[in-house]
């Protein structure tokens, strides 16, 4: 009886340790959250938003984006100053420092997806390949969801 409870105790402790270690390890070195494309009608460019979390201990840089659903994708930032708005192309990409998270969100960083090759619908999935420097593999295919233009 004593032996059985001893064995049980060891099993429980081991299971606990394994669960704890699993919990400590980040699932992915690079985590892309909430990827979405805001649908704009009439052939005008659309914005893509998401967050990038860099779980590695060195900086990574988003340098490119491309999608078969669009003719051209650019990395842009909206700048508002003195009551005027303009867009700035991110020539050198976007740096995500070690352990940091960068948000692509309305009125800031966004993907500008131009020249839709087909008519998109709300709820549809669109693959976008994000290209990085400082991490292997360099290309990450991310599934974006098409959301209404009135969503944030």
């Amino acid at each position: 009886m004593k032996i059985v409870s001893g064995v049980l105790l060891v099993i429980v402790l081991l299971a606990g340790a394994v669960w704890w270690v699993a919990d400590m390890t980040p699932a992915e070195p690079l985590e892309i959250d909430n990827p979405r494309i805001r649908l704009v009608p009439g052939g005008a460019p659309m914005a893509g938003y998401f967050t990038i979390a860099n779980h590695t201990d060195s900086p990574i840089r988003l340098v490119s984006a491309a999608s078969e659903a669009f003719g051209h994708v650019m990395i842009h930032r909206t700048i508002v100053s003195g009551g005027d708005a303009r867009m700035e192309h991110q020539d050198s990409g976007v740096l995500v420092a070690a352990g940091e998270t960068v948000a692509f969100a309305p009125k800031g960083l966004h993907l500008m997806l131009m020249g839709a090759r087909r008519e998109l619908q709300v709820g549809e999935d669109v693959e976008v390949v994000l290209g990085f420097e400082g991490i292997e593999p360099a290309e990450h295919s991310v599934t974006f969801t098409v959301v209404p233009v009135t969503s944030s």
């Binding site: 649908l39 704009v40 460019p45 051209h72 005027d84 867009m87 009125k107 233009v149 009135t150």
Partner: protein
């Protein structure tokens, strides 16, 4: 100076600024700019003037349809705020989107775009001469950046929503930093005051 004192002073200063502006969330432009007046082309293709709003209050935004980020963000907030207005104020308010990019924003493009936000939003654009006259009148500017190899180009424009009352007087500038609740509060306050004045008249 300790952080708590700095915070207190900051709060007081913010409070004072708000009081100075009659506690609008936006910026009051009452008496600072001329009344609404323009000649532009509507999304129907017709040439229209300010009389197209038929004496209703208007919330107007300058932008362009090839603007994927700030334009839809601002228009969506405006539409959400307008939806929060109590009846009959909601029916009163007219929404207008003025494209400063007539080269790409023809009537069809404009009407597809504004319909995506609200059936009560009218799209307007015009010649460079008309657009310059209109934007100058409200002390704002727009400009075009260099064309890219694919022929696309960026446009800079005002980031604020201009609100005019039923008589075409400029009343508020709603800055892009305002959220839906703040825009709705300002619109409701302005429009209910308008409604009261109309009842008394």
């Amino acid at each position: 100076m300790n952080p708590r004192r700095i915070a207190l002073i900051a709060a007081l200063l913010l409070g004072l600024t708000a009081c100075g502006d009659e506690s609008w969330h936006g910026k009051s432009i009452e008496g600072l700019m001329p009344e609404l007046e323009f000649e532009l082309t509507a999304e129907s293709g017709e040439t229209v003037t300010e009389s197209v709003f038929a004496g209703r209050p208007v919330a107007l935004y300058f932008g362009f349809t090839h603007c994927p980020d700030i334009c839809p963000t601002t228009l969506a907030r405006l539409v959400a705020a307008a939806r929060r207005l109590p009846e009959p104020l909601r029916e009163e308010l007219q929404l207008a989107f003025v494209s400063v990019d007539p080269q790409r924003d023809g009537p069809r493009q404009l009407s597809d775009y504004t319909d995506a936000f609200s059936d009560r939003m009218v799209g307007l654009t015009g010649s460079q001469r008309q657009l310059k006259a209109f934007t100058r009148r409200y002390r704002t500017t727009y400009g075009y950046e260099e064309e890219r190899s694919d022929g696309s180009y960026n446009v800079s424009h005002s980031s604020a929503i201009f609100v005019f009352d039923a008589s075409g007087e400029p009343r508020l500038m709603l800055l892009d930093s305002l959220g839906v609740a703040e825009i709705a509060a300002d619109l409701e306050r302005l429009l209910s005051r308008e409604a009261r004045n109309a009842d008394n008249a």
